[in-house]
Point group: C2
Chain length 149, copies 2
Amino acid sequence: MPGPHEMLAVALEQARLGAAAGGVPVGGALFAADGTLLGAGHNRRVQDGDPATHGETAAFRAAGRLPHYAGTTMVTTLSPCFFCAGLIRQFRIPRLVVGEARSFGGQHEWLAEHGVEVTVLDDPECAELMSRFAEEFPDIWIEDIGGPE
Amino acid sequence: MPGPHEMLAVALEQARLGAAAGGVPVGGALFAADGTLLGAGHNRRVQDGDPATHGETAAFRAAGRLPHYAGTTMVTTLSPCFFCAGLIRQFRIPRLVVGEARSFGGQHEWLAEHGVEVTVLDDPECAELMSRFAEEFPDIWIEDIGGPE
């Protein structure tokens, strides 16, 4: 059974792939109750012109159709936005591992309030990837979270 | 400028296309502030084996990359689940037109509480499409909202 750091490594590899392609460097991975990897992916806004593919939605899509999500764990390099948090809540994904929540005020606390077991690892590489991107490409990053406040 | 019923007609046509293909009959459409159609689509769980494509996420993706969503209206044949409601909230889509909220207890009220201007039309054809599908294919419908409670 992989631990949170091993699971994060899969999402982080996805974030690195995204960064290498010039995309928003957020990766996600979905694991089954027994630790099997169900799907992984990364944000594709830049690469595919697809605003609906965040790290978490990419991992969820890659896992394909499942009858339910009991026992699963969603892993993301960055605290989930409301879109991805809504995904986790709607599909009752019971556990969430977050790489970091420094560079973006995501909704992991909202999920915790609604019963999701949340682990925040505060991983320096996740934070470094994300803050470097936000500094280099602020317009893309602001676009990815819905435009300026 | 199209009114709510004219905008719903675009989403409903998408739901009909989904139904004709044996898919979950939920359609969505995103309109710009000036009434221009930005994108439309329907649930593709069955057709593409893609659990991340609901009516609203399909419309959002079809609209492509946008710098912000000021003034836009999301139209959906069915009250949005938390995934789609999270999308609307994250991207600060200010208006939502809902075809019906009878056949599924979606999150349009949660969105209204958070400042979205919500119009529920209670359209009989939207409700009929959805309730017929849920009766004929209960397992697919339950899967589409995250498995049994």
